[in-house]
């Protein structure tokens, strides 16, 4: 295997030398909007969009420059400054992997910025919203462009902060404030893993840069596996993988563009990026850490799909689906360079079709007075054609309808998984069937069937500023998969960055047994959904449902588990600590003070005010002193 981290000498020139602008532009935008305050209200959103678009332009120019280079040279280091002397040199690494992410982040991010102009037009705090979005874009770009784990970690925390601020954007709603805190705290658990992983990495290899690790000889032993598992814990937190998945569904309290940008298209995929970027070092094919990543991915893709089957809240349904799709990516990332390429491919196409569907859901909510309950939708197709058609394109892409994006990338992951680990692979096939069911359920309940609207709902199509991004995203949802996967284009592009062999084309078998069974299962799922939610009437109030339905509705009892395992014992612990503090420490301190106060109160009675008493005590004292002196003298 080639060394994936071989940096080719000198600092890059041309546009790539200015790739720090990608981070700086949105950061400056956020700073202006936050410091400028209300004065920037009038044009704040335009500045936000301009900064995001500017970053996108830089990313495109950098891509053009990379494409002009020899494939072996497409790994450009941009040294910025010495961050921690002797330990961390801050620099950017512009290679095939990071530029793919940068394009996704700035491209989809800019579309979502534009969409938000319309979506947030009635919100008096729209400027603050754009400031946070810009902050997010800057942090996310730092995460993917940094050439070392410390820079990555700073971006990692930055996106966590932006996510917190945006989930709690409507902080006056208690549910949003709680969801924001929950996301932050659950992510802390993952960040702890990432941090400790970095500590161990530093003590073991003495370097935290990707280039340094590339030069180091890494044997797969216990320490390396531990680092891998710790990094995986971090990835699980950020990417809402089991067992740290519980925050993502609550994160839907934020404005819908946030759900689309951060909690579907970009930030939640940071975990996959971390695994792929560290892949050659800590997750090589066949290692324990990679196996665990595969197990986590498989479990999450099924859990997310099951949750998605029972949610009536359109955004929570999509959130379950996001969990599930990231599960697929994590599964792909467990299987070496070929798996990485498919995972990244699915990540990119998912970024398009999921953002498309989330923004479509936002458009529907916009039309329905912010109603999110799908049982109160129905028959919306004729009222909002553009939204409906783009949403359906996203839907066809995610269920893997032949020739659309999801078909190619998801199928690639499943094929790779079956090749290396049939159990995981066939479970992923089952997950695809579930995807077919829950996504069809969503489509039938929202756009078809009888209208079950509230009396004061007057659905209408959204303005062009919202529908144009939908159209662009749906074009990506149609064609991107074929473009990336056919002929192994994405694989050959990414191979030098992730350590794959370049003269290799991953096989694509559309008519293989797994491929056909996936299609068959998806078809079965769609048909079941049609009978249950298309043909039959959907009741406006949710039926109680079986044990399984409740199980899925309650997020597989994830919250209950967290509550009984961590929250309650934590509360007991704090109560015990409070008790100990009140009774033990306060008791000791107060008791000591009371003892001293009491005894001094008694002692002061000695001060009688009678001069003769004092004279007597002086006499006794003198006598005592004399006696003592005599005694000592005699000794």
């Amino acid at each position: 295997m080639e060394n994936p981290a071989q940096i080719l000498g000198n600092t890059a020139g041309g546009v790539i030398g200015f790739s720090w602008l990608m981070i700086a532009l949105p950061l400056v935008g956020a700073a202006i909007l936050l410091i400028g305050g209300r004065r920037t209200n009038k044009w704040g959103h335009l500045l936000g969009v301009a900064m995001s678009l500017g970053a996108f332009v830089v990313a495109v120019l950098a891509l053009v420059q990379l494409l002009g280079l020899d494939p072996e040279q497409r790994r450009q280091a941009v040294h910025l400054y010495e961050f921690i002397p002797g330990m961390v040199d801050m620099g950017l690494l512009v290679d095939q992997l990071s530029i793919s992410f940068a394009l996704l982040i700035t491209g989809v991010g800019s579309l979502i910025h534009i969409y938000s102009i319309g979506y947030m037009s009635h919100d008096p705090e729209r400027r603050r919203f754009f400031a946070y979005l810009n902050l997010f874009v800057a942090a996310m770009l730092l995460l993917v462009l940094a050439d070392n784990y410390v820079g990555l970690f700073i971006g990692w925390e930055g996106v966590g902060l932006a996510s917190y601020l945006l989930i709690g954007f409507w902080y006056f709603k208690p549910s949003a404030a709680v969801a924001a805190k929950k996301a932050f705290i659950v992510n802390r658990v993952g960040d702890f893993g990432l941090l400790v992983g970095m500590f161990v990495m530093w003590t073991t290899f003495g370097t935290l840069s990707f280039a340094g690790l590339g030069d180091a000889t890494i044997e797969q032993n216990g320490t390396v596996t531990a680092i891998g598992l710790l990094l995986l814990l971090g990835a699980c937190g950020k990417s809402a993988q089991l067992p740290l998945q519980s925050w993502l569904l609550d994160a839907m309290e934020g404005p819908t563009p946030v759900s689309a940008l951060i909690h579907a298209a970009t930030m939640v995929t940071a975990g996959v990026y971390l695994v792929v970027r560290s892949g050659a070092f800590f997750f090589p094919l066949g290692s324990t850490a990679a196996l665990v990543a595969g197990i986590v991915g498989t479990a999450t893709l099924l859990a997310g799909a099951i949750i998605g089957c029972a949610k009536d809240d359109i955004k929570k349904g999509l959130a379950g689906s996001t969990m599930s799709q990231i599960g697929y990516m994590m599964l792909g990332a467990a299987f070496g360079p070929v798996g990485y390429a498919f995972a990244i491919g699915h990540l990119i196409t998912h970024g398009f079709f999921k953002a498309d569907m989330f923004l479509g859901a936002g458009s529907v909510m916009h039309a329905m007075n912010d109603e999110v309950d799908m049982r109160k939708y129905g028959g919306l197709f004729s009222k909002m054609k553009v939204t409906a058609i783009t949403f359906i394109i996203g839907y066809l892409a995610i269920i893997g309808f032949p020739l659309l994006s999801g078909y190619f990338t998801k199928d690639g992951i499943i094929e790779t998984a079956i090749e290396h680990n049939p159990v995981m692979g066939w479970l992923a096939v089952a997950g695809a069937g579930l995807t077919g069911f829950y996504m069809s359920r969503m489509i039938f309940m929202t756009f078809f069937g009888k209208a079950r609207w509230d009396k004061d709902a007057h659905p209408h199509e959204s303005p062009a500023v919202m529908t144009v991004p939908l159209i662009i995203l749906s074009i990506g949802a149609i064609g991107l998969g074929a473009f990336l996967v056919l002929g192994g284009r994405l694989y050959q592009w990414l191979a030098p960055a992730v350590g794959g062999a370049r003269d290799f084309v991953p096989a694509f078998h559309p008519f293989s047994v797994p491929g056909l069974s996936t299609l068959a299962l998806v078809a079965v799922g769609v048909v079941i959904a049609w009978f249950k939610y298309g043909k039959a009437e959907v009741p406006v109030t949710a039926p109680r449902g079986s044990f399984l339905t409740t199980f899925a509705r309650r997020d597989l009892y994830g919250d209950a588990l967290n509550e009984s395992l961590f929250m309650r014992p934590g509360q007991w612990l704090t109560r015990l600590a409070v008790f100990f503090d009140n009774r033990g420490i306060d008791g000791l301190v107060n008791g000591l003070a009371a003892t001293i106060g009491g005894s001094s109160g008694r002692l002061r009675r000695v001060q009688t005010g009678f001069a003769r008493t004092y004279a007597l005590s002086i006499l006794f004292g003198a006598a005592l002193l004399t006696g003592a002196l005599l005694l000592v003298g005699n000794l």
Binding site: R605, Q607, T608, A611, R612, A615
Partner: protein
Amino acid sequence: MTTEYLVLSAILFVIGAVGVLIRRNAIVVFMCVELMLNACNLAFVTFARQWGNLDGQIIAFFVMVVAAAEVVIGLAIIVTIFRTRRSASVDDANLLKY
């Protein structure tokens, strides 16, 4: 000789001490204090004579000077107290207490 002087000094000291403890009149108490001081002076002078050097004699002078100063201050205080409280009893001046 020395023993007799010292015995006298001790007797004077004890008389003074008992006087300080049992008498109430501030003037008498004061006189008793002077008696104790002079008992000490006697002891100093005795020892100076015994050992044939002047240290004790000098200390005695110091004690006298200090006693004189003390008498000036002390009597002034006693007179002031008597003016305000119409009493020279040390037991009546007992406000400075717990």
